[in-house]
Symmetry: C2
Subunit: 351 residues, 2 copies
Amino acid sequence: MTPRKKQPTTTPHTVSMADLARELGVSMTTISRALSDHHSIGAATKQRVLKLAKKLNYQPNHLAAALRKGQSRLLGVVVPYIEGKFFPSVIQGIEQAASKAGFSVIVCQSHEDVQIERRNVETLLHAQVAGVLVSLARNTQEFHHFDKVRARGIPLVFFDRIPTSEYVNSVVLNDQAGGFAATNHLLEQGCRRIAHLAGPQHLNIYRERQQGYLNALAAHGIAPEEELIIYSDMTQEDGAQATRQLLMLPTPVDGIFGAGDSVILGALQTLKSQGIRVPQDIALAGFSNEGFTAITEPRLTSVDQRCEEMGEAVVRLFLELSTAPEAQFVQRQVVLQPELFIRESSLQVPA
Amino acid sequence: MTPRKKQPTTTPHTVSMADLARELGVSMTTISRALSDHHSIGAATKQRVLKLAKKLNYQPNHLAAALRKGQSRLLGVVVPYIEGKFFPSVIQGIEQAASKAGFSVIVCQSHEDVQIERRNVETLLHAQVAGVLVSLARNTQEFHHFDKVRARGIPLVFFDRIPTSEYVNSVVLNDQAGGFAATNHLLEQGCRRIAHLAGPQHLNIYRERQQGYLNALAAHGIAPEEELIIYSDMTQEDGAQATRQLLMLPTPVDGIFGAGDSVILGALQTLKSQGIRVPQDIALAGFSNEGFTAITEPRLTSVDQRCEEMGEAVVRLFLELSTAPEAQFVQRQVVLQPELFIRESSLQVPA
DNA sequence: CGCTTACGCACAAACGTTTGTGCTTACGGA
DNA sequence: TCCGTAAGCACAAACGTTTGTGCGTAAGCG
């Protein structure tokens, strides 16, 4: 911010361990070990080194260390996208936990495209990341691009959208519990004929949410009906479309549980435009607790995904893997419990 | 994804330039130069090297290159937060442009805290980034933590929220034009007494938006009134608060232009709860074109910020700076033009 | 007093690149 | 024939760390 200077005041040469060594008349070994608190260095020497380092404003070159040690202090994250609430919040949690552990975070988006996802993984490997944290693209059906990560012995953690394989480390939400809670709540509010707007079934999260829905029905002795489950990519438009379809059924529905919030938003808008009252005629519940659920009219009941906790858990798992010996042969899965946020879209007014 | 293997099939040693050199019976110099298309290497040799590199699946170690050259292919980005629409979209644009140029992106959040912002910059310098791209925290009033970046000769580009100094490279939206367009539109819809929900004035963007508002009034020969401009941090709650304040004025307002969308959302909710009709009684226009502007009732008119274009422009500017000699002495500013998205919250129904 | 042990430190070889310098070879012009 | 020139390549020194090994000294023990 200072005005131009023809000559920089300090030498362009940043101060390195060699400088410290020269100044103190010891070897670089001593410097390195003193800085990393190695046991073979005396307390007095450590003090001297630390003091000088501070005085000269020594900045360690992580690159060199990374090169030497074969791994950096960088964490690679691959997510489908960063719009909406979920992924930013998870990344938020990851960043926080990572920086606490001295790691920085690289974020890549796959844009729901397995091709780009592949490239992202390559990029991260090129950057010599210390770990790879992934939430899969929608259309990722095979997982060979992750083999390289394992081959290099780099910890690999999946979160939320995980591969259909038991040989992975992962952090997930208990989506089934979420689906159950939402559906169960609708049932408790008096709904008896509840539709489900489901997502692509090859993604674990949507399968689980649907299973939760089915379990809740079963728990109340209600038989599932095929025509009440509508599959889509869960956009707002998909929700509108599905709702129109539901409204044409001979027997009307009195509740809808959506595997996402956008799809429920589409439903809400369609219902209102048709003059159907929410929640009196049809109650609604969604999934993700997006920001907009609190500003629709009525506000939307939704399942919160503990986004930041998930991010922290992912980093914790990574740290475990990277310290544990033979970590690549351990398979761990962390499961977080969702929380149902109940709002007016599902609250039966006392009649 | 494959089941456990006691022994990795390939040697843990990744293939390096030395391997290529040995295989081809040439020196590493030749390999390096062939790969980087140096002129002193014959076409035939280049072919041989490239072919072998592909065959052995050679992956360059960017770290080593970065170490040797003193800079990496990493771009550091510091933003206040990544919730909402604006920053994710800008980052999106940055990522896209960066990866096209062979760079990866590290994203850090300052959480609107200059302390953390300082730390972020340090972190990025430690990671030996090739460039630093910053949007300032709300409370950043002094800019010495960026001096180090310049001192190292690393390109520094600010975007959207930029320092109050002429000695910076920056990409900004023409916020003034945006403020003008929105206010002008309200005026054209028949509003005559327009309030402005303004943001913190030490941030350039909010000053500009307000100036646009004032200019539009002036252009229509309307004198600004102090009591119609309310300053806040522009949260939803701030909007509600400000609106209650406006409603207590002796002379009623008939339009509100907010420097953000959240603050206008707060206004909308308050107005509706008081039975005041939007836009018939009071028309509304916001800023940012957030996702939720399309789902409120009525939908909100708002100024779009060309987020992705901004991201691309930031990277373009960075690239210019990093190639241009003596680039640190060039001061460039790119200004993008906003676009007004007109929706029902400001459309005067034909009476 | 001699032997072991622990401690505090230095030597030097890595890690995988890039790059200034200098050597060879072949060729054309004078 | 000889010199200048250019092309094509190799040598070796960086970049800033980490770390296995080894050497000296002092303390602990019998």
